[in-house]
Amino acid sequence: MAPLAALALASGLLSACGGDSGPPELTWYINPDSGGQDAVAEKCSTDDYTISTQVLPQDAGQQRIQLARRLAAKDPEIDLMSIDPPFTAEFADAGFLAEVPQDARSQLEEQGTFKGAMDAATWKDKLVVFPFWSNTQVLWYRKSFVEKAGIDMSKPVTWDQIIDAANENDAKVGVQANKYEGYVVWINALVEGAGGHILQDADAGVDADITISDDAGKKAAEIIEKLATSEAAPADLSVSNEGTAGSTFGSDAGSFLVNWTYIWTNYDETAPDVADDIGYTRYPQTVEGEESRPPYGGIGIGVSAYSDEKDLALEAAQCLVSPESQGINADLTGNMPASTDGYDYPKLKETFPEDLLQLFQESVDAAAPRTVTPYWSDVSGSIQNIWHPPRSVDTDTPEQSKVFIEDVLKGDDLL
């Protein structure tokens, strides 16, 4: 009996830590960042509750797995969580998320939350997460390089142009092409930039219309093939992610880089000469003359349907996504606000030049989110399987991936 008694005592002690003394603690599962979400959690803690953070894995796919497994087991310890947009639909469809109440919705609309952010946060006409930050990619370039190569960056540039320029001048183009979600972000932007979509009619679930094999998909495959087989491809292309692409860009062979907003402050401390040499412009066009569709990323804050403190968590989430909170987070992490009011946070104007902030907002407006479907992880995983490694991509790749996605969705093929 002694061990049992000890166990009972221990669990009693543990539960005592959680609650009885002081206000209830809300646990917010966050994606790793440089302290922005911690700062916001502290700011939004009140006399009624304190918000503590727990860090999820680095990789978006791993974040999804950890959260989904806990939620499927109805873990009451999760109150708030930072969710990557492509997985919002899956979580909402499984009933993991509490609906955002009407007054919070009005507040989000009032503060000028971007349409793309609202769309990504909506599943079956219900708002299921609070848009917190909205990120997008722009084309970063080395001023010294474009001068040498003689490219006019004041006009929109195409992928063909930047690959050729890098190729002719012994430089490397930084992209994300490891076998992970980031690679699909790139593919999606290329496909959307050519006026196509990876899939349509997402409401049909597993019977959705897979359209990656259309002309737009072929154009995307051409660009990837062109880069992968040219001298402009970094040696680590097939394992490149945001970080390694940033290193390529910062090296002597750096020329162009597509990457998220936080790159602006990335070199300030480690390589000030690179920081001075960074230029920026709109994401490159897939097809000349057709407006580019930059990638859309970000984080929405979801409230767990299984939380013991759901009402408090909903209240807390409202504070976490206030314009000021979005501004504080953006200033600390470089992850841009999800609303126009958030962009008014004074300190942002000190860190980022005015025209860059404008470019960010314009890009978020034009951005093409990944299709909202509860089966996104299957679609994305299938694309990664067929389109990776990049050097294997050719004009047949889109058709192969269409067949494979359909088989995987119907459960006829392993992923």
């Binding site: 989904a68 076998k179 680590d236 992880s377 995983g381 490694p389 392993l414």
Partner: protein, 318 residues
């Protein structure tokens, strides 16, 4: 020169045991059963129950994030898996890793075992240093080797670029064979000490008298190794091969850390992980786990039969 093996001790047969069973031994046996009962029940709870549940789940289409969609599909999941090329490709990759790593480990492990057995000075230090890699967690070893082979900050390219097939910018995780090489190096580095340890136990069983006798008869070093030492270690070698082969067949950590299954390097365990954990396909994933379990059983049976491993003898119960 003919092969010399130590005479086998005759094994006690069941009949004999029965004949000498007195009331006292019968009572002891009953007590023994009672004493192991709690452990057996516990084992059933923690191992048999999940296995039965996996078997049950494998007959359903069941996804954790779409629980309402659950439906009984019979053996469909098994048919899907067995007719899928990815399953067979992963099986081949897994078998390749198993055969190559076990073969290399056997050779290096034997050399290490000889060193540990024969060394006179700094014996403790030497044995400890050989065993260190085995004490390191596989995930840590995988990360260490991933950094070593990394294009951006690894030392392998920098140190070995004088070799004709390695350049300053060789991307070790950029194609199948390079990636497989890196994965196998990590696997071999980490588990060779285990192999060496099992072989050391076998070496210790080889009688010094026989070696002395062979020496007196004028046997060379090579003859003593192949005609005396190895034949007498057969049981230990086979057990080492069996253990390592089954371990290697379930390889997961190195692949997960180093390539995440990219470039066709996914093993059977990794493919199973993707179905159960990433896709949350409990039905399909359970079917894969069942197949993985059956293939491990088959492999164990094949090795035991093919190499005529006598497990009882290897445990010293002979």
């Amino acid at each position: 020169m003919s092969t010399t093996t130590a005479p086998e001790t005759p094994t006690r047969t069941k009949d004999k045991a029965k004949a000498i069973a007195s009331d006292r031994t019968a009572a002891e046996n009953r007590l023994g059963l009672k004493l192991v009962a709690p452990a057996v029940v516990l084992m059933l709870l923690v191992t048999a129950w999940p296995m039965i549940q996996a078997l049950y789940l494998s007959l359903f289409r069941y996804r954790l994030t779409a629980p309402d969609d659950r439906a009984f599909v019979g053996v469909d999941n098994y048919l899907t898996i067995l007719s899928d090329d990815q399953f067979w490709k992963s099986t081949l990759t897994t078998l390749l890793i198993m055969v190559v790593t076990v073969a290399v480990e056997l050779v290096i492990g034997f050399a290490f075992a000889m060193v540990m057995h024969r060394i006179v000075f700094a014996r403790g230090l030497m044995r400890t240093s050989i065993l260190i890699p085995y004490g390191i967690i596989t995930v840590v070893s995988a990360f260490a080797w991933q950094f070593a082979f990394s294009l951006n900050n690894g030392f392998v390219n920098a140190w070995f670029s004088w070799l004709p097939w390695i350049a300053e910018d060789t991307n070790w995780f950029g194609d199948y064979w390079h990636a497989m090489f890196a994965i196998m190096v990590s696997e071999i580095w980490k588990t060779t000490p285990f192999m060496a340890l099992l072989l050391l136990a076998g070496l210790a069983q080889v009688s010094e008298d026989m070696l002395e006798a062979a020496k007196v008869d004028g046997a060379t070093w090579w003859q003593r190794l192949t005609k005396v030492i190895l034949p007498n270690m057969r049981a230990a070698i086979m057990v080492a091969v069996l253990f390592r082969a089954l371990d290697a067949y379930r390889i997961f950590d190195n692949i997960f850390v180093m390539t995440k299954g990219a470039e066709g390097t996914q093993s059977i365990s990794f493919l199973t992980y993707r179905q159960v954990i990433e896709q949350m396909q409990l039905g399909l994933g359970s079917a894969m786990s069942v197949l993985l379990f059956l293939s491990v059983l088959l492999l164990a049976w094949l090795i035991v039969k093919l190499f005529r491993v006598d497990l009882a003898q290897a445990r010293g119960e002979g």
